[in-house]
């Protein structure tokens, strides 16, 4: 087997091309190059410019055959764990915040309003006040809690889908 074919074989192994497919491509290539050599034809005449770049040639052949993802897909797949980790972190933070908000601690707002005017009796009018404290639960808290839960659930769904796609992309494709 020529050095060119061996380099292709290594590249297919690195790209996790299934052995059966890699063996078939390597055997076909080796036989073609051998026949060309016997006829006095150079490898360049058989392989074109690819004769000088076995790794690109091997990757291109495997990609076009559909036994590995395309280069852009591989690059995005390699970034996917980072995106996944970021999403998981956000999900955990969201869950923690949601739990704290959902704890049975009532949030109350305090509004200060002047007391209604008292009927004058004999006492002189109070200079200012007294003030009465009114308290009411904040509806915004409920809204924030619901919003956080929705965001968290969405983050979980997106994480699960990304994770699933990433796992699928790492599995070797069935031989074509």
């Amino acid at each position: 087997m020529s050095d060119f074919v061996q380099q292709c074989r290594r590249e297919w192994e690195r790209l996790r091309v299934p052995d059966s497919v890699a063996n078939e491509m390597a055997a076909d290539l080796a036989a073609d190059l051998k026949e060309a050599e016997t006829e006095g034809v150079s490898a360049e005449e058989v392989l074109g410019r690819s004769a000088f770049d076995p790794r690109s040639f091997a990757a291109s052949w495997a990609t076009e055959r559909g036994v590995i993802p395309s280069t852009s897909h591989r690059e995005s797949a390699s970034r996917r764990p980072l995106v996944l980790a970021a999403l998981a972190t956000l999900t955990v933070i969201g869950l923690i915040v949601a739990v704290f908000i959902a704890l049975p601690v009532r949030s109350e707002s305090v509004a200060m309003t002047p007391a209604p005017p008292q009927p004058r009796v004999l006492a002189p009018p109070a200079p200012s006040g007294p003030f009465v404290l009114h308290s009411r639960p904040i509806a915004a808290d409920v809204f924030a809690w619901i919003l956080l839960m929705v965001v968290t659930v969405l983050a979980v769904i997106v994480s699960a889908r990304l994770w699933s796609a990433w796992v699928r992309s790492r599995l070797p494709t069935a031989p074509a």
């Binding site: 055997a27 076909d28 036989a31 051998k34 026949e35 016997t38 058989v46 074109g48 410019r49």
Partner: protein, 117 residues
């Protein structure tokens, strides 16, 4: 402005799949045999990319059928021939090529070419 080799390469890139389908339409062939058939018609792929990735794409798209058989010399080889879809693609591609070639010829025909001696 593209050099002669570059322009030829770009022109070929768009029709090399049709050329491959055409040479295996004559009879099933393995990779190197196709290269020889192309060369016999004056189409050398030196300077172009290899035909193997292209064959891979044709196979993935179902435009060719393959089978393994003993060759005249050496080990068994993978033979390619156009599928029914491949023949349809070839026919459509040839029509498109001829239409494009005629249109370009009509534009370029009045140009007088002087060959420098």
């Amino acid at each position: 402005m593209a050099s002669g080799a570059q322009r030829r390469s770009e022109l070929l890139r768009g029709v090399l799949d049709l050329c491959l389908l055409a040479v295996i339409e004559e009879g099933p062939a393995y990779g190197y045999e196709m290269t020889k058939r192309l060369r016999a018609r004056g189409l050398s792929i030196v300077g172009e990319g290899s035909i193997y990735p292209l064959l891979g794409r044709l196979e993935r798209e179902g435009l060719v059928e393959t089978h393994r058989a003993a060759s005249d010399s050496g080990p068994p080889r993978k033979y390619y021939r156009p599928s029914r879809e491949g023949r349809r693609t070839l026919a459509a591609g040839v029509s498109e090529w001829r239409a494009a070639r005629d249109a370009v010829d009509a534009v370029l025909a009045p140009v007088k070419v002087e060959v420098a001696s």
